[in-house]
């Protein structure tokens, strides 16, 4: 018997995806079966991945995830522990037109010390030595993360039908964003791709996506947990999307339109579960006009939103690239079906609690090698309306603006950012809703030298006086001071004061403007296997005159950061790096209120770190060790000191 190993369908290369062609197991299985191989199984990918993380710091929390979920206390988060995750992906070609795949992964959270944990809770949920005390989070059970079927229906103008899991990469950050990496197979829907002409200059995409019940909507849900709903109804909540692309040499235009719809049953309908009038009579026994049972339930929209963008990318001349994006966003909330998260949740809400709409525009010009060889000039203008929001937009791992921003990770046009379920060495993302300004970047690259300089000026469409942050506009509770992403705490207690929540774009009184200057350089010295030296300096002046009734609350913050790093390969597959960072922040009226007055703050922070990476025939090890010393000097609120050691190592193999 000859077993032909034909086609692979491994996943995108640069990410630890787990689809490696593996014929060994298949061959073994076939040999063991001693018999005939079915033709369908000859196209079969079976791949796996083991990922182990070591996280240790000098505090007494237990777990292997630096930041967990701040709302539902996540019992896997903690700064000391080792945990392992296993993933398995199976992909197959069912026929020459049909492909299918599934991915399974073990639940991450069982520490190596958690012997015998079976996923049960016993003895009143007390942690004990039974091995049955911590629950499923600590049991490493396997979960189906996603399944999909994709086929070419061989119909005119239709290229592909995809049903099931998708990372939503078809759309964009302003509409339906690509799902964050760890959730990449959780989103599911129906998708059709096609074209209009043989050259495929015109292509189209349609999609219907099941809304995640957990985060797209008021209160980060599409009804679940909302106290005004007796029967949260999420199974009919969907998003719809369409995309039209025109592409030609030197030009590409993309139009995207999306809509989210969160439906709830009419509580006055006598056929609805938990109806106010199950017998069509009011509390006094009187007949409710127009009420009758027809064994069908009427629905209303709890939350509805639409986002649309038109983006063009052009190369008018050889050295010039022009990118233009315009967008429109609109939302409607029915307060009969949605609790006011701004009012009842201390201003922590992913939506403005009102029917609002707004636009956004971005224009970017890149000029390369026009003035001098290796010299680039990048200019960007952006104007994002104060009421723009992409509720289903990209939550992290993306960046829609050129600027380095106030935090380094990236800027995204949504209040629905996801800065949880990350470790201390991962990027942070901030909301750019309301940002209006421009960025100029010059980059120069010659030989082993790369240098760049940025200047950004920001004003804010969210500047306003006496804004209603009690009932309409979410201020995320903490809206003042530079954000310390090194030592962040979601609770922001007074003894930590980590600064502004990156989602906090609205304030009661704001008259703000910001200057950002960044200089970066990298040079590779031709010694050994090449010594890379990199340097980054950043300065921010952030001013907010706050209330127009007094000068006493005016804020001014100056933030300076300098970071240096040296790294070098020391042998094949082994690289070491060392570096350090110094921060000096001076903030007048950093935090407080009009009623209680404001206190100043001075931050002095130093960080040193060492890194090792090791790649050897399929095994990949990374190690990061750092020490942070921070003094937060606050004459009014008391000084605080941090002396934090922390380390993270990952070991990964995929096959």
């Amino acid at each position: 018997m000859v077993v032909l190993w034909k086609r692979g369908q491994p996943a995108p290369g640069t990410r630890p995806l787990w689809d490696r062609r593996r014929q060994t197991l298949l061959v073994a299985l076939l040999l063991c079966s001693g018999g005939s191989a079915r033709a369908e199984t000859s196209n079969f990918d079976f791949s796996g991945r083991i990922y182990t993380k070591y996280l240790y710091g000098n505090d007494d929390s237990q777990g292997a995830l630096w930041y967990g979920n701040p709302f539902w206390p996540d019992d896997i988060a903690g700064r000391n522990g080792v945990a392992t995750e296993f993933e398995m992906t199976i992909k197959a070609r069912v026929s020459d037109a049909v492909q299918a795949g599934v991915r399974m992964a073990s639940r991450y959270g069982e520490l190596w010390q958690d012997w015998w944990e079976s996923g049960n809770y016993k003895y009143g949920q007390q942690v004990n030595t039974s091995g049955d005390s911590l629950g499923l989070n600590h049991a490493s059970y396997m979960k189906l993360r996603g399944a999909w079927v994709r086929w070419n229906p061989e119909l005119p103008l239709v290229d592909l039908v995809h049903v099931g899991a998708s990372d939503m990469g078809t759309w964009n950050a302003w509409t339906i964003g690509r799902i964050r990496y760890i959730d990449r197979d959780n989103g599911k829907g129906f998708f059709i791709d096609g074209h209009f002409d043989e050259e495929r200059s015109w292509t189209w995409n349609l999609g219907a996506v099941a809304l995640p019940k957990l985060w797209v909507g008021p209160g980060w849900s599409s009804g679940v947990g909302d106290p005004v709903l007796k029967n949260p109804f999420w199974s009919r909540d969907w998003a719809y999307a369409g995309k039209l692309t025109w592409a030609a040499p030197g030009a590409r235009v993309v139009a995207i339109g999306t809509m989210t719809q969160d439906l709830e049953a009419d509580p006055a309908d006598p056929d609805a579960l938990g109806s106010l009038y199950p017998n069509c009579k009011d509390a006094g026994g009187a007949r409710v006009p127009g009420c009758y049972s027809d064994h069908a339930v009427d629905f209303y929209s709890r939350f509805w939103s639409t986002n649309a963008t038109l983006e063009g990318n052009f190369d008018p001349l050889e050295h010039i690239n022009l990118n233009l994006l315009v967008g429109f966003a609109k939302q409607r909330i029915d307060p009969r079906f949605a609790s006011n998260g701004v009012a009842i949740n201390q201003g922590v809400s992913p939506v403005v609690f009102d029917d609002v709409s707004d636009g956004a525009a971005k224009l970017r010009l890149d000029i390369e090698d026009a003035v001098a060889d290796g010299l680039k000039l990048k200019l960007e203008y952006f104007n994002i309306g104060q009421h723009w929001n992409a509720i289903f937009g990209q939550r992290r791992e993306g960046d829609v603006l050129l600027t380095d921003g106030l935090v380094e990770g990236g800027q995204l046009p949504t209040l629905n950012l996801a800065n949880e379920f990350i470790d201390f060495d991962e990027d942070w993302y901030e909301s750019c809703i309301g940002w209006h300004g421009g960025t100029a970047v010059t980059e120069y690259a010659q030989g082993p030298l790369d240098v760049s300089a940025e200047y950004t000026f920001l004003s804010y469409n969210t500047n306003a006086q006496r804004r209603d942050v009690d009932k309409i506009y979410p201020d995320f509770l903490h809206s003042d001071g530079f954000t310390d992403t090194d030592l962040y705490s979601y609770a922001n207690p007074k003894n930590i004061d980590r600064g502004r929540d990156p989602r906090s774009v609205y304030r009661r009184n704001q008259n703000r403007r910001t200057h950002i200057g960044v200089v970066k350089g990298r040079y590779t010295i031709d010694v050994g296997r090449g010594l890379d030296l990199s340097l980054k300096g950043k300065f921010i002046r952030d001013e907010d005159f706050r209330s127009d009734t007094t000068y006493d609350d005016d804020y001014r913050g100056d933030m300076a950061t300098l970071r240096a790093k040296a790294s070098m390969p020391v042998s094949d597959g082994v690289r070491v790096a060392v570096g350090g960072q110094v921060d000096r922040w001076g903030e007048k009226n950093r935090a407080g209120t009009l009623e209680t007055g404001y206190g100043n703050g001075t931050t002095k922070k130093e960080k040193i770190f060492a890194q090792l990476s090791y790649d050897f025939k399929g095994v990949r090890l990374k190690y990061h060790l750092e020490y942070i010393h921070k003094d937060l000097l606050r004459p009014r609120d008391g000084d605080e000191t941090w002396k934090v050691w922390r380390s993270k190592a990952t070991l990964e193999v995929a096959w």
Binding site: R7, G8, Q9, P10, A11, P12, G13, T14, R15, P16, R20, D96, R150, N152, L160, G169, T170, D193, R200, N205, A247, P249, G250, R252, D315, E368, V371, A372, L375, L377, E397, D427, A440, Y444, A445, Q446, G447, P448, D450, V451, A453, E454, Y455, R513, H515, G517, V519, T524, D526, R529, E543, D572, G573, V574, R575, S613, D615, F616, G618, R620
Partner: protein, 274 residues
């Protein structure tokens, strides 16, 4: 310092940096620039892109190849038709600012039959004619040096001395550039031949492949289509075709060069001698 003063100072500083940067320019001389026709990113003429949205049209379509003398270094510049994106955030995996492309530049330094290598690196599945055998290959990969060195050692150990990993690799809007020290490459001479092979970066490739993405008969979410399910087809999206002037006839020359017959004939890559 007042707001106006600050704005003024930062503005002046930015302008100064912009003006001064070119002044520290290294001596540069373009040795040659070859062109490649638009729309020939189809391998032997039949290949199609994967279905995932990150593979935007033109991402693997070579439009030009330039070699620049920078004194002690040589820059290799490969331009593609589409804007170069970084959808997989290469900085998260110590990468070089782009995600999709993986370019191999084969160099024939002596143009002698029987001298050099006729086979390509693992995962490409093509060969060179004996008189066009190559002596060096420069890799322009989004992967960081550590990963690249490890992969080369593991999968192309016999060719390791001929593989050059640039001191620095970077991406601009349409161009990927690799900087190679002359200590490693030697002084580029007239008469050297070049071939640019366009592939796609696959961080977790099949066991024998050197970071290359496969081409199958049917395209998949992250697999090229239009080829063969075995590895008898060249896993190449685009190459240069002589004379490298970008004429339409170079499309058909490429398709012919990359044509193959499973079990009978492997695709044979031409060298371009500028």
């Amino acid at each position: 310092m007042s707001h106006t003063q600050l704005t003024h100072r930062i503005g002046v500083l930015t302008v100064c940096v912009a003006v001064l940067l070119p002044a520290i320019a290294f001596a540069a001389e373009s040795l040659f620039k070859l062109k490649d026709p638009h729309g020939d990113d189809k391998g032997p003429g039949s290949y199609t892109y994967p279905t995932h949205a990150v593979y935007t049209r033109g991402s693997f379509d070579i439009t030009s190849f330039e070699v620049v003398d920078k004194g002690s270094d040589v820059e290799f510049k490969v331009a593609v038709a589409a804007k170069i994106e970084d959808p997989w955030n290469s900085k998260d995996w110590d990468g070089n600012g782009f995600s999709l492309q993986f370019i191999q530049i084969y160099i024939d330094t002596d143009h002698k039959a029987g001298s050099g290598h006729t086979g390509t690196l693992p995962g490409i599945h093509a060969k060179f004619a004996s008189e066009s055998a190559w002596e060096k290959v420069v890799l322009l990969s989004p992967q960081g040096k550590t990963k690249l060195q490890s992969e080369v050692s593991a999968k192309a150990g016999g060719l390791k001395k001929s593989v050059i990993i640039p001191r620095s690799t970077r991406a601009a809007t349409h161009t990927i550039t690799g900087v190679v020290s002359k200590k490693v490459l030697g002084e580029p001479k007239k008469g050297w031949g070049y071939q640019v092979v366009m592939q796609s970066n696959e961080g977790y490739p099949a066991p024998g492949d050197l970071l290359t993405r496969k081409v199958n008969s049917e395209r998949g979410e992250h697999r090229f289509g239009g080829g063969n399910d075995g590895d008898c087809d060249p896993h190449i999206l685009d190459i240069l075709a002589p004379p490298g002037s970008g004429g339409g006839d170079e499309k058909s020359a490429q398709y012919k060069a990359l044509s193959y017959s499973c079990g009978a004939r492997m695709a044979e890559l031409p060298m371009v001698y500028p």
